[in-house]
């Protein structure tokens, strides 16, 4: 955190100054470790074993926050008798189909909630469409009132299921798997549990490298389970905090440029399940569930009205049919494979540099070299604009400029000070930026580019009589423009996102005002309120020193300016703060409403004692002690009966590439990971496949303070380039000895995808760990370099293959295996020969690789 989010880290230091204990768990000693009380080096890829061990410590010693757990989590819910755990099936849950490598989750459900035969799930489709990402705010789609045992003694209740599941995650197993000593592990367990009670809370902070694993979602799930068991969710100083890495990556998830989502986490309709407005809405609202998704019809209709304006009417289902339908995995990696295979014509790159920043750089560049055209919109001449003349593949002869047909348009972009608009930062807070100056020359904002591109495309289709062109012709695209550049109004777009009454133009102040009859429109329901009372709330800049510690009048946070989600849980079941020290939101009996330091994340006048009538669902179905108001049962999920592809509870699997067999189960790796088995995407073998010693070391990558991701915003900046001028690899003194690596000299790092070179930094920031009785060396690489900019170097992402988490289709790029040897890499065609020599030594001829992968899957 001190490295990649240094200014955010000042608050950790504030906490430390007030007595907080800081623990840092990381494969490498960083600037964060230097300021922490305790540093725990860990083997990359073993986090579920580590956290699962703490869950076991909590449950076997009954150290959970019992009143919180019984009332606010699903610990008491009874799981179906049909459920079988990984203990029974040696690393698999019940319902696994080795043919499709997916689970049928029927047996994972709560008792009595098993779906009827005609209500079958389609797990393969769910994986293909990264459906779990939609559950980011949908919550798990469970029904309202499962059977419960509040004594937590029933052997089928979630608490007991969880306890059995983690029983084998003992301190000995943690040490064996993670390379963390039992003593140090116990220190973490004791600190975490001792600091989690009515009077104290513990925060879990991760950077989003955690998501870049084949079990990334389950990493975060393990953290969530622990924080729920210890009563740290929805309380001040607690929570699971994701440190996201781009100025508005939260915003681009909320208002998604993502294939499987529409604004506000509404799903992109898929051709199998959502052929009508009604089917689409029901898939979101889940009629039997509790919570605020019950109003999905209003959210969906308002989006369609915002998209298609007057053309969207109740009679035509608000033009639902105009939405394109997805049929599977259309994610960025599958699209790159399609580019290599010649299926894609044109590609827009909008402030993104996949030639350096995406996994498997060679595949990225070969894909771009097989397109008709690429439009690159960026501040600088990044590598994704110059792949046809400067990429490593030009050197190897795989891309020949005279034979590469791709047209490239490098379109200069306006910088953040040359346009106005909102970023959403990592805590869901929108902040409006004023424009300081006009962009120079031909530089333009994306708002300008897409508004005018849309206008020009619409002109080209204006006279069409084809039915398929109706969505373009009827698109609501009349934004006011201003100034010499004919810049569209960002405030007008934000107003559309907020929503308003169609007739009067009155801005909506809350999504509760959205109607499903077409009388209101709004482009992103969770952002409704950002233009409350016609005021741009995101532009508020009341100094922090002039307001409470919650600072509600600086910017605006979705939803409804709530700064902390699920904050009902900061009060006990009766509505009183758990302690005075941790008071945040509470029930005011006299006023008959929820009040406190933040906007309560609960119906304002629903008393803690409220219990829904039998059969109630939706918002009415939420009891006064159901803080998790977006979950189908109102409870925090220790166990996830549905919504996840790879199991209801996190389970340790080895990374796709690992030097070790799974110490816990026969099942080696995530049995449901998304794989693209093809010759241009090989995986280094694991021990069960033989030859894993060819790539004996574990590598991981992360950021430097002085650079930003793929370097497009830092390698071209003189100050930053000067601070970190060269690509390097960090290795331990022990590995340097073993391989003859000289400090300041060169090393070549080799995987089955590519080989790169880097300067050697020998440092005890990396420690060899004892895992499974033998020593494992880990090496660390920053991933900021490419051949462009003021400082150049090889790109670490070239080393990485494409294997994805099945829930969200994010690649495993934070752990892999490699070889390291002294000296520079070969240049020209010899580079590919080196990589292929290693592939041969590892038995990765094409046929063998395919066969091996299949074998490892079964």
């Amino acid at each position: 955190m001190a490295e990649a989010h240094p200014v955010g880290f000042q608050w950790v230091m504030e906490a430390k100054a007030r007595g907080a204990k800081i623990i840092h768990v990381d494969p490498r000693f960083t600037r964060t470790s230097a300021l922490a009380d305790t540093f725990v080096p860990i083997r990359a890829g073993s986090d579920i074993a580590f956290l699962g061990g703490i869950v076991n410590y909590v449950l076997s010693n009954e150290l959970d926050f019992r009143e919180y757990v019984v009332n606010y989590t699903n610990a008491a819910a009874i799981v179906s008798d049909d459920f079988q755990d990984t203990d029974d099936l040696d690393g698999l849950f019940s319902g696994y189909d080795p043919e499709t490598r997916t689970y049928d989750p029927t047996s994972w459900q709560y008792a009595g909630d098993e779906p009827a035969a005609d209500d079958e799930q389609n797990p393969e489709m769910q994986r293909e469409t990264a459906s779990a990402l939609q559950h980011e705010s949908h919550g798990s789609g469970v029904k309202a009132n499962p059977p419960r045992d509040e004594t937590l003694q029933d052997p089928r209740c979630v608490y007991q299921v969880l306890k059995r599941h983690y029983a084998r995650y003992t301190p000995e197993m943690v040490a064996r798997t993670c390379g963390v000593s039992e003593e140090q592990f116990r220190e973490v367990c004791e600190a975490w549990t001792a600091n989690s009670n009515p009077d104290r809370t513990t925060a879990l902070v991760y950077s989003v490298g955690w998501t870049q694993h084949s079990v990334g979602v389950q990493y975060i799930r393990t953290g969530a389970i622990l924080q729920l068991l210890l009563g740290n969710m929805g309380r001040p100083g607690g929570g699971v905090m994701a440190l996201r890495g781009h100025a508005s990556i939260q915003g681009s998830t909320d208002i998604p440029t993502l294939f499987n989502l529409l604004p506000g986490y509404l799903p992109m309709p898929n051709a199998v399940e959502h052929q009508s407005l009604e089917q689409w809405i029901e898939a979101v609202s889940q009629p039997d569930a509790k919570g605020f998704w019950a109003n999905a019809s209003a959210y969906g209709v308002n989006l369609l009205k915002a998209y298609f304006g007057d053309a969207a009417t109740p009679e035509n289902d608000f033009c639902f049919d105009y939405l394109p339908k997805i049929t599977g995995d259309h994610g960025t990696y599958s699209t790159v494979m399609d580019m290599i295979d010649g299926k894609v014509k044109g590609y827009f790159l909008l402030g993104q540099n996949p030639a350096v920043g995406s996994a498997h750089g060679r595949a990225q560049r070969l894909g771009m070299a097989n397109l008709d055209w690429v439009v690159v919109r960026d501040l600088f001449e990044i590598e994704s604009a110059t792949f046809w003349k400067t990429s490593p593949e030009v050197a190897t002869g795989e891309i020949v400029p005279e034979e590469c047909r791709t047209e490239v348009f490098l379109m200069p972009a306006a910088s953040h000070v040359e346009k106005e608009g909102t970023f959403t930062q990592t805590q869901r807070m929108l902040q409006w930026r004023e424009k300081a100056v006009e962009p120079p020359d031909d530089c333009r904002s994306e708002l300008w580019f897409f508004y005018h591109l849309g206008r020009m495309v619409r002109e080209r289709y204006a006279d069409s009589t084809e039915e398929r062109d109706l969505p373009i012709q009827q698109l609501a695209w009349d934004y006011p423009t201003h100034g010499p550049l004919v810049e569209p109004s960002a405030e007008a777009v934000l107003m559309e996102i907020n929503g308003f009454e169609v007739e009067s133009g009155r801005p909506l102040s809350s999504f509760i005002e959205m109607k499903a009859d077409g009388s209101t429109l709004g482009g992103c329901w969770i952002y409704t309120g950002v233009y409350k009372d016609g005021v741009n709330q995101a532009a508020r800049r009341k100094p922090g020193s002039d307001q409470s510690f919650v600072a509600p009048e600086w910017g605006w946070a979705w939803p409804a300016n709530r700064r902390m989600l699920y904050n009902r849980a900061s009060a006990d079941p009766s509505g009183k703060p758990w302690s005075e020290r941790k008071a945040y939101v509470w029930w005011d009996e006299d006023a008959g409403e929820w009040t406190g330091h933040d906007v309560p994340d609960f119906e304002k006048t629903k008393p803690p004692s409220y219990r829904p009538p039998d059969g109630a669902a939706g918002v009415e179905g939420l009891a006064g002690n159901d803080p998790f108001i977006m979950q189908g049962d109102g409870k925090g999920a220790l166990y996830v009966p549905q919504g996840l592809i790879d199991g209801p509870m996190p389970t340790h699997y080895e990374p796709v590439e690992s030097p070790f067999r799974n110490p816990f189960y026969a099942q080696q790796a995530n049995p449901t990971s998304k794989e693209y088995v093809r010759p241009d995407n090989p995986s280094n073998p694991s021990p069960s496949q033989g030859h894993s010693e060819v790539y004996p070391y574990v590598f991981t990558t992360s950021r430097l303070t002085e650079h930003h991701t793929a370097g497009g915003m830092s390698r071209f900046v003189a100050r930053l380039a000067e601070l970190q001028p060269e690509m390097f690899i960090e290795v331990s003194p022990e590995l340097a000895d073993e391989r003859g690596l000289e400090p300041g000299g060169w090393a070549t790092i080799i995987t089955s995808r590519s080989a790169i070179e880097a300067r050697v930094l020998v440092t005890d920031r990396l420690t060899p760990l004892k895992v499974e009785g033998r020593t494992v060396h880990q090496v660390w690489l920053p991933y900021h370099w490419g051949e462009g900019g003021l400082v150049t170097g090889d790109s670490a992402n070239d080393l990485i293959g494409i294997s994805l988490d099945p829930n969200v289709l994010i690649q495993e790029s934070k752990v892999g295996t490699c070889d390291v040897r002294p000296g520079r890499r070969p240049t020209g065609p010899a580079l590919r020969r080196l990589v292929m020599d290693y592939q041969n030594d590892a038995g990765l001829t094409t046929a063998h690789a395919v066969e091996d992968t299949k074998e490892s899957q079964s």
Binding site: T332, K345, G421, R460, S545, M713
Partner: protein
């Protein structure tokens, strides 16, 4: 003031009230004659750092229609005026002489860039979008399901852009039937 032993700031610091040397003790006439360029700026825009997602507020100082300084905004409850090395270098980011400010075009099979006017480039891109859409249009997929889409146009990017921009990008591509629209959140 002549440079004498008595004008040595350490003496002032040790003998005066400013023992920590953070105020009067370390001032000189030279100090007093310097004016920070932020004080003579024509205007200050309230902005936000474009790098990571912490969301540090910035003050962008403008003089003669040029950005002359970018500093952390002390009012912000997020960063309290602080910026990291990247945020502190963001003036260099936006004023860098390496920035592309005109269009570069690489024709098929070309070995060098050529220049293109903005209008021309926009017309060419619009033509290519329409052609790619028409050439790859699917009313139904191979199983006969209604999909009304194109798999011929893809897009990647958005995490460094504004919400309003992402909104228009998704809206336009969705209306055109392009679905392979992705950003860093998948990476």
């Amino acid at each position: 003031m002549a440079r004498t032993f008595l004008s040595w700031p350490v003496l002032r610091q040790l003998t005066g009230a400013d023992r920590l040397g953070r105020g009067a003790a370390v001032r000189s006439r030279n100090t007093d004659e310097i004016t920070a360029r932020t004080e003579t700026a024509d205007r200050v825009a309230k902005s936000v750092c474009p790098y990571c997602a912490v969301g540090c507020a910035q003050k962008v100082f403008v003089k003669d229609e040029k950005v002359i300084q970018i500093e952390g905004d002390p009012d912000s409850p997020v960063n309290r005026g602080r910026l990291c090395p990247k945020g502190a270098a963001s003036k260099n980011l936006v004023t860098s002489p390496l920035r592309q400010t005109t269009i570069k075009y690489r024709a098929p099979y070309a070995t060098e860039w050529t220049d293109l006017a903005l209008d021309t480039a926009m017309e060419m891109i619009a033509d290519r979008v329409v052609k790619a859409r028409n050439d790859t249009w699917q009313d139904v997929d191979e199983r006969g399901q209604r999909v009304r889409r194109t798999l011929g146009i893809a897009s990647l990017g958005g995490a460094t852009l504004d919400n309003e921009e992402n909104y228009l990008i998704k809206k336009l591509f969705t209306a055109m039937g392009a679905i392979q629209i992705e950003n860093q959140a998948r990476i």
